[in-house]
């Protein structure tokens, strides 16, 4: 199964690992007898969708599973067998031999302790350095991971740093005791794409320079292509395929791997990747009112004792009837704020938002309600955008109920029609949201958005909480529905590949301002602005060779722009 490299003993190996959880409803078999190993200086990517057992596997290496877990099989770290260690042995092993980089750096760091304290804590607990030595070593570690002015930074708290810097601190903590192997559990999932590219650069230079083995857990095939030497694909607790990154990603053997790769949208391939493409939009006829017209919109959030925060700054764009406009940007670019403002959920500070020529400003009860009837909305997380106490049928019929459209029978008929349209079984009618999977739930919220045949749909990151295969099917369905119902749509996303798949026009946002807007082909294939170029260069593609080329191109671009390429500084 694995490729043997002579002369290198694995630093982390799982043999016949099997994990069962005892729960109220019987046993859940999370990991079913898998065997993998990580060698020094090597990145093994463990790939799989949510629920495949990849995080559970990694937790066994640290002995950190909850008490109701039953683990069999052997896990060895270096020359130690995890199952044979007592609590004290485990504590010494954690950090010294295995370190962990978590997904969300804000929660992985203690908010009430300074960065310095948290770094020296690890050093002192493991007896590596004490007092002044430890402080000096902490500064050294921050310098290694490329944080500027480390002497000042050690005295700061996590909230004073950006997301990328926080993740660098977490990596600094992970390498503080020179571990043999680092387990990185979705280390870049919570980060923006440009920051993700930097963190991946850092991890790559880390394993080259320190000869650390890395077990990388991720669901993002682009990250795999960028980082991994070898890949293990996990499905429902079993490993279905292993091999080098090139083998698995370019010549997948197992059907599941092929399907998984087939569902990843490729940036640059444009619409039609999943069978359906949005229809080409004709030019707007003279005199027709655009579905949405945003004109010099400014949105500010008031803060106590401080100047208000300007989240959206003089943004202007239009969405014509039947047109999908993609709103792209990194976190904090104001894209969701614009979407919420278009829904009339947040007031505009100045400028205006016109929906079919009407504005929510100064509109009262009845008129506002009539205008809302023409807008549908899909939010990011279907788990929180559906009321947990409403059965699916009631959820979808809710807009009809609110606007008092039709009688009971016609409502039921409409709900059934929509369930068919979003390809859900009619039996889902009486289920509760928690009984459906993430993808099914998002289909329900799309169905609810379409209940009143809206002329404008506001979709705020509708697929980012979904697994990639589910995302593919939801996107395919979405474009098919758009073709059928011809609604105008603002589609907010941070994922350029998704936008590439379905938008007619693209608006790129940064810090609340429009950086660039225009036709999809123009913006995504031939960007004119520096920020758009950076964004596009940082988005990884799931083909190792292509990704290597893109990575070099990105480094060239950064050098051109006078930026530093992130790496580990070892002296």
């Amino acid at each position: 199964m694995t490729i043997s490299m002579p002369g290198t003993e694995p630093v982390l190996s799982f043999t016949d690992l099997d994990v069962k959880f005892g729960t109220e409803f019987g046993t859940v078999h999370a990991v079913k007898g898998i065997s993998i190993e990580v060698r020094p200086g090597e990145v093994l990517a463990l790939v799989g969708e949510s629920g495949s057992g990849k995080s559970v596997t990694s937790m066994t290496a640290l002995g950190l599973l909850p008490k109701n877990a039953r683990v069999t099989g052997t896990i060895t770290v270096g020359d130690q067998v995890i199952g044979e260690l007592d609590e004290k042995g485990l504590r010494t092993m954690r950090g010294n031999d295995v370190a962990m980089v978590f997904q969300e750096p804000m929660t992985a760091l203690n908010p009430v302790l300074t960065i310095g304290t948290q770094l020296t804590e690890a050093l002192e607990l493991h007896g590596i350095a004490f007092g002044k030595d430890a402080d000096a070593r902490a500064v050294e570690l921050l310098r290694m991971v490329g944080i500027p002015e480390p002497e000042r930074r050690v005295k700061q708290y996590p909230h004073e740093m950006s997301g990328g810097q926080r993740q660098r601190v977490v990596i600094a903590m992970a390498i503080s005791c020179n571990p043999k192997v680092i387990i990185a559990d979705e280390p870049t999932t919570a980060l923006d794409v440009t920051v993700q590219a930097d963190i991946l650069d850092l991890l790559r230079s880390l394993k080259d320079k320190l000869d650390t083995g890395i077990l990388l857990i991720t669901h993002n095939m682009g990250v795999v292509a960028d980082m991994a030497d070898r890949v293990a694909v996990m499905l429902k607790g079993e490993i279905v395929e292993t091999g080098t990154a090139d083998e698995v990603l370019t010549r997948p053997q197992h059907e599941y791997t092929r399907r998984l790769l087939g569902s990843v949208p490729h940036l640059g391939q444009g619409p039609g990747q999943f069978g359906t493409a949005p229809v080409d939009q004709e030019v707007l006829p003279e005199g027709e009112v655009p579905a949405l017209e945003v004109n010099k919109l400014v949105v500010e959030y008031k803060r106590l004792g401080k100047a208000p925060f300007r989240a959206v700054d003089e943004v202007s764009f239009t969405v014509n009837a039947g047109e999908i406009v993609g709103l792209v940007g990194e976190s904090g670019s104001g894209k969701s704020t614009i979407a919420r403002c278009a829904l009339g959920l947040i007031p505009a500070e100045s400028g205006d938002v016109k929906i079919f020529g009407h504005s929510f400003d100064g509109m009262r009860g009845k008129d506002a309600k009539a205008l809302r009837k023409r807008i549908g909305v899909v939010f990011q997380d279907p788990a929180s955008s559906l009321n947990p106490r409403f059965p699916i049928g009631e959820c979808i019929a809710e807009p009809l109920q609110v606007h008092q459209v039709g009688d009971r029978r016609s409502r039921d008929a409409k709900v059934l029609e929509l369930l068919d349209a979003v390809e859900l079984p009619r039996s889902a009618l009486n289920r509760y949201p928690h009984e459906l999977s993430g993808g099914q739930r998002q289909r329900v919220s799309i169905a609810r958005a379409l209940t009143l045949d809206p002329e404008l749909l506001v979709a705020d990151e509708p697929t980012s909480a979904l697994d990639v295969s589910v995302q593919a099917s939801v996107l395919a369905m979405f474009t098919a529905l758009q073709e059928r119902y011809r609604f105008g749509c603002i589609f907010v996303s941070h994922d350029l590949a998704v936008i590439d798949l379905l938008a007619h026009r693209v608006v790129v946002l940064q810090d609340g301002r429009v950086v660039e807007q225009g036709k999809r082909e123009d913006v995504l294939l031939n960007p004119s602005e520096e920020y758009t170029k950076r964004l596009l260069a940082a988005a990884p593609v799931p083909e190792p060779a292509e990704q290597r080329r893109r990575r070099d191109a990105r480094h060239e671009l950064l050098a051109q722009l006078g930026d530093e390429i992130v790496e580990l500084h070892v002296n």
């Binding site: 005892g22 909850p66 009837k373 390809e423 609810r448 099917s473």
Partner: protein, 339 residues
């Protein structure tokens, strides 16, 4: 750890299908198949709660005891004009037999003439205690219900509307909280004395809603920021419908738990008030007033003290246990691992 395989939230566990791709089924998430239920029965939220509650041994035992006490109190001496199976009345005095000591014996089991004994004037103490239990239970449930309604409405409005509505309502809550409960209840109890037991219950409800109001406000504050509220608003749902259809049903766990706990505390509060002489007026009795009335007889006729005390203990304890059971059942983070 975000992996759904770790069973921190047990209600997610029974639906293992869904999320990913099934190797057996067609491309991507099967759009036509019902992935969720075929192999295992799936439970709705309410069924899950009921299931967890029924499994809670303490709560179930308490439920049985409470129901038994209630039935005993109502059926023995009857309600109003309807007579019960017990032949003696709690107001009628009689000859004191054998110093009024209890005739109840367990081995062999006999009730005797006066199972709980007699008081100094020869009234049957079993009938008195049963009447006291009736009144105490009545007060407890009326207070529990009323204070829950008041607390829910005030907390819900404050949490949903924010701004000056919240300021006014929450300062009012603070005001009620800072005045010592017993003093306030005593003063109000005095005023309401002329309306009898119902007046007393009303007054007690008016001073005990504060805790729930704060709890509900907190819940509503977090729920109103959830996306399903935003999307309800985006489709044009009115405030009243959002509060009563979308938000409050999601706080029902907190509300029910708090209601049971407030029932228990109402019994104790009424007991304390009656003990101080501000509660139920003679000739009517509550469990608290019985204790207060016969506190001097403690050394000579201890049973006059023990029987009502035992019933107060039983009711307060069982209601508390039921509240605990409900809290465990409603809180999905409660992690009970069998197997």
């Amino acid at each position: 750890m975000t992996d759904p395989n770790t069973p921190h939230r047990p209600e997610k566990v029974p639906t293992p299908a869904g999320g990913g791709i099934n190797p057996e089924t067609s491309m991507m998430e099967p759009a036509t198949g019902t992935t969720t239920t075929t192999e295992q029965k799936s439970y709705s939220q309410n069924q899950l709660v009921l299931r967890r509650f029924l499994r809670h041994k303490g709560a179930m035992a308490s439920m049985i005891v409470l129901v038994f006490v209630t039935i005993l109190a109502i059926s023995s001496i009857g309600v109003g004009p309807i007579p019960g199976w017990w032949d003696k009345d709690y107001t009628r005095a009689a000859n004191v037999i054998n110093g009024g000591s209890p005739t109840l014996s367990l081995f062999p089991f006999t009730l005797g003439e006066h199972p709980f004994g007699q008081d100094s004037t020869g009234k049957d103490y079993f009938a008195l205690v049963m009447r006291g239990t009736q009144i105490s239970l009545l007060i407890a449930f009326v207070v529990g219900l009323l204070s829950t309604v008041i607390g829910t409405i005030i907390g819900g409005l404050a949490g949903f509307y924010r701004g000056w509505v919240e300021s006014v309502l929450m300062r009012l809550t603070d005001l009620v909280i800072v005045i010592p409960l017993l003093v306030l209840a005593a003063v109000l109890g005095k005023i309401a004395a002329s309306w009898g037991v119902w007046g007393l219950a009303l007054m007690l409800a008016l001073v005990t809603w504060t805790g729930l109001a704060r709890l509900v406000r907190g819940e509503v504050l977090s729920l109103r920021e959830r996306e399903f509220v935003a999307s309800a608003r985006a489709i044009g749902t009115g405030s009243r419908r959002i509060i009563f259809k979308h938000i409050l049903p999601n706080t029902v766990g907190v509300i029910i738990v708090s209601a049971t706990l407030s029932i228990a505390s109402a019994i104790l509060l009424e007991t304390a008030l009656s003990f101080l002489g501000f509660g139920v007026r003679p000739p009517d009795v509550s469990l608290g007033s019985l204790i207060s009335q016969y506190q001097n007889a403690f050394t000579t006729r201890p049973w006059l003290f023990w029987w009502p005390g035992l019933f107060i203990l039983a009711i307060a304890l069982t209601v508390n246990f039921i509240g605990d059971g409900l809290r465990d059942a409603f809180d999905p983070r409660q992690n009970r691992n069998k197997d």
